[in-house]
Symmetry: D2
Subunit: 336 residues, 4 copies
Amino acid sequence: MIRAAVVGSTGYSGQELVDILLKCPDVELSCLTARVAEPVKYSDLYPRFAGRTDMMCENLDKEDIASRSDIVFLALPHTVSMRFAPYFLEKGVKVVDLSADYRIPAEIYGKWYGKEHSDRDNIKKAVYGLPEMNRDGIRGADIIANPGCYPTSVVLALLPVIGRLAGKGARVIVDSKSGTSGAGRKASVPLSFTEVDEDFKCYKANEHQHMPEMEYVLSGYAGDEVRIDFAPHLLPVKRGILSTIYIPLDDVSPEDAGPGCFAEHYSGEPFIRVRENGLPGIGDVAGTNFCDIGVKVTERTLIIVSVIDNLIKGASGQAVQNMNLMFGLDETAGLL
Amino acid sequence: MIRAAVVGSTGYSGQELVDILLKCPDVELSCLTARVAEPVKYSDLYPRFAGRTDMMCENLDKEDIASRSDIVFLALPHTVSMRFAPYFLEKGVKVVDLSADYRIPAEIYGKWYGKEHSDRDNIKKAVYGLPEMNRDGIRGADIIANPGCYPTSVVLALLPVIGRLAGKGARVIVDSKSGTSGAGRKASVPLSFTEVDEDFKCYKANEHQHMPEMEYVLSGYAGDEVRIDFAPHLLPVKRGILSTIYIPLDDVSPEDAGPGCFAEHYSGEPFIRVRENGLPGIGDVAGTNFCDIGVKVTERTLIIVSVIDNLIKGASGQAVQNMNLMFGLDETAGLL
Amino acid sequence: MIRAAVVGSTGYSGQELVDILLKCPDVELSCLTARVAEPVKYSDLYPRFAGRTDMMCENLDKEDIASRSDIVFLALPHTVSMRFAPYFLEKGVKVVDLSADYRIPAEIYGKWYGKEHSDRDNIKKAVYGLPEMNRDGIRGADIIANPGCYPTSVVLALLPVIGRLAGKGARVIVDSKSGTSGAGRKASVPLSFTEVDEDFKCYKANEHQHMPEMEYVLSGYAGDEVRIDFAPHLLPVKRGILSTIYIPLDDVSPEDAGPGCFAEHYSGEPFIRVRENGLPGIGDVAGTNFCDIGVKVTERTLIIVSVIDNLIKGASGQAVQNMNLMFGLDETAGLL
Amino acid sequence: MIRAAVVGSTGYSGQELVDILLKCPDVELSCLTARVAEPVKYSDLYPRFAGRTDMMCENLDKEDIASRSDIVFLALPHTVSMRFAPYFLEKGVKVVDLSADYRIPAEIYGKWYGKEHSDRDNIKKAVYGLPEMNRDGIRGADIIANPGCYPTSVVLALLPVIGRLAGKGARVIVDSKSGTSGAGRKASVPLSFTEVDEDFKCYKANEHQHMPEMEYVLSGYAGDEVRIDFAPHLLPVKRGILSTIYIPLDDVSPEDAGPGCFAEHYSGEPFIRVRENGLPGIGDVAGTNFCDIGVKVTERTLIIVSVIDNLIKGASGQAVQNMNLMFGLDETAGLL
């Protein structure tokens, strides 16, 4: 049995990790941590886990966690993960970090996350945990930078075509819409039900910290600079991201960029479903690790729509998919 | 023109007061106050007021407010209003208090609101501002205790029958469901969209501070002790309260307690609508000052359903209705 | 492998059955039927099943279904199931009927469902499929009447106390709130998003067809007549039922009817969770086969709150739980 | 008093017209029509109108309507309005048509609405009822083609810049999100609460019938061909449209296209509010006739966000604004 710790188990990604790991046949939860005043039954904090686990949630120190675990999932805020990861790696414990701390080079990180990076060495060792792009690298990795939720939805939508389009100086316009759990579990007036329900708004247009992550990952993959305009919006739904992506082109054709190209590119992928007709909705993937993709090609523009569950394929599900690869397990274990 | 101040203008009741008062032909807003660091345009705080008012929201002291106003609406938290009301009354400024501070006797208040009352004299002078019960008293009052939202929905539903039923030792069971704005505008994990949407729960069963208010008001009206079991629930809607009220009786008949009795009792009331057939829903009254009431009489049980908008008839609309009565204006001004 | 057919696979209960049965290790879906013009891939109808099953949805006749199946789940409308069940029983195929057709005696059925019952013999053979009440009977049954969603939430909440209270002439008041999927998958203005969202209403107070089912089942269990007042409400949520139950009593005590009694009664039950403190919410059980129960005892009234997912414990999950018992499988297979 | 008829008063636009016209001081409702079997009190159909109007809703013929009215609002489906409008115009009754029948030339109409136009003459006489573009024309018009909801949100967002940008061969990408009331009041599985809540999807990308309306109106205004890519999405909210508009440009600057340009263009407009900072949300305009606009200029792209209430500024409010202009009333009467 693989012993897995969830560090930061009380946020939404942490809860989802616990939910998924409880379904993994070859995994045993080793510890659930959080900043709690004293140990408390996890199912007392979250009654939906009653009858499924009797584990305690505790404020453990690194030493305890490391000694009990083969792998730790860091479901911590940005800038906090990098204080924990080096210790675990040194002790030979594998790390899947769900924060942004190991996704992009330190110089870009410093600019967008407002803090100097304190663990530059491990950024270089970290593998960007998008299995559909980096499966082999993930298999051999000690530390995984689990992708951001928006970038997962956008990068997966673009991989099949970006290589061919980037050289043509493509401009990519990304209009994303996310459910509220993407903002994390926190007390906040703007995230309160009374403010969010029956409302809908755009925020951080071209100022969101996930934009440089998309550009960095896609540019590296395409071998050419990819520039993105990115406008995220807050949806009155709990979970899910839908990204509508527009690539204005003068000579796009269904042969170059239709559903067929996407289906071929993702042939054999267990969690990517390309829609032959029509466009997917958030409801098609909510509660699953799938990313569904639909395409519409018009004379002058390629429109791609992708949907994921931000907490699963966009966070905890993908994290478990990465763990499965790192330990040579069935990639879909716990996830179907 | 009557000069009206909204003290505590940034909460939900405060905003709703501003919205309604802007529609009152004989009222001029004199000041909008809140604990702001420095004066700020109210429409910069709440853009939906842009183009409707250019007023500033300021952190004014009592003296300023009193000198500019004929009436003040105190849209303040419980235990705060009683620190302000005496000064305004002394200066001859009329007061409508939307908090619980003047609704119930000091001894009951102390027990349920966890604080000794500091202004016992004015409790006695305050008139409970339910026009359908106390219209004449309200006309001559200097200070109005504006009813709680749940009590408004429950007391209005019971007035037509409680006098006849109370003496029979009736037990009244009240199952109320409220939208989230009833909890006020605050940062809170349990009130966040991610927690509230697709959820529904019962809270404070027989422990809610509005229960003694209902019992006190109804007992006084009935001239006999009325005891209530009260279970409030949190609905995933922004606004509105629906109360389902059960009175188990051995000899209830449609003649005693059917829609006809209610219609007769409320004949001529501008804001009470008795449903001849069927039961009302929150959508029928959302955004209005109406209270809709439906009745179902069965062999052994009288079931009454009432609905209000908690921020209007349950707070700010009723407050303006009271103001209209206090100043001899058309009772419905600004409210239809 | 047990071969299971879902007859009526396109409604909400049908979809949920497919979802659960795909997770059952010892079950093989034998056919998915619906009134489709021609065979169509089930995952083309419901894209969320893509990548999970390639089965066709077909308009099969009884003979076909019976020849391929060890058990059939009838996810059909009331009055339709009774046209199919006798044939399957005759062919030795076990039946779990999710409609109301086999739950109550024919005379009561005729009165509430507006149609003479055409299969009176099998009503007598049918076992009411509430495992927590009838586990042994279910094990040996050929046909299961799967309980209604409201009755599941109410009967489970009352079993621990009804026997002791019924003899005292208890009146039980049930205020239930259900999500919209309880009304089935149908085109209807009153069920449209624009009508339901931000609304909440009471319907069919003391006229709902699930009321006689509750009374019949509880009276039989208590050995004394149980009378219920039942007011269902429509919640703006997709799934879930919360029932708030009031039993006015003159001498109720926490020893007689507190959480302890409930916990003891349900000790060992895999899907009943009694809350020691506080009351459960729909979010605690959504997506699961659990029924969570909380209790509040006051001087004069016992208040019980129970929650279930109407499509799982209130329909398809309970149906699979029954199948597991009928075939001697682990009762929780596919359900945890 | 101006006598106004609402033809098709039971749909969402019809109800909203009734609501607004009841607030207009110089207007008297002359008749409310619908295909009802026999006359019925409008407030029995829609209880929220109880206490506000006692009018009947009737299935009247054209002659009756014309003889009682100075103006008729046609809140009818596309292809139905053109069967009614000619008669009213002939009788000297002014017409505001809320359908698409008079918005675009007959040839474009035939292609997108699947029906040959039967009243080509009046298309030419009709004035496109967007006051911010055509105020003078509206004043003198006999028939107004009230703009579509999406086009209102998009055209208003583009008027200040399209003239200068169109000549540069601009491509305009419009990503719109609409609440469900935009689809009208109808029984439909895809519009049911159970399907829509917690879901979000893109539909009719580059195939929506409002796309040619936008292109036609904007091309005419700009004096140059404007081409639009348009992807509408269905939001789980009742009301409101938010359009995010992207114009990729190589030399856009805040001076050319910043908030200042928009504020200047719309200076004095009573219902357009340009946001100096930040971007508007649907909640800022829900329930009002305002259109709020925010702008974000980046190096290479101009992003414009506009919001309206689809039933008010996108339909009935704008219709009343047009009526006010046609009859020389205060343009804002009934609308603030």
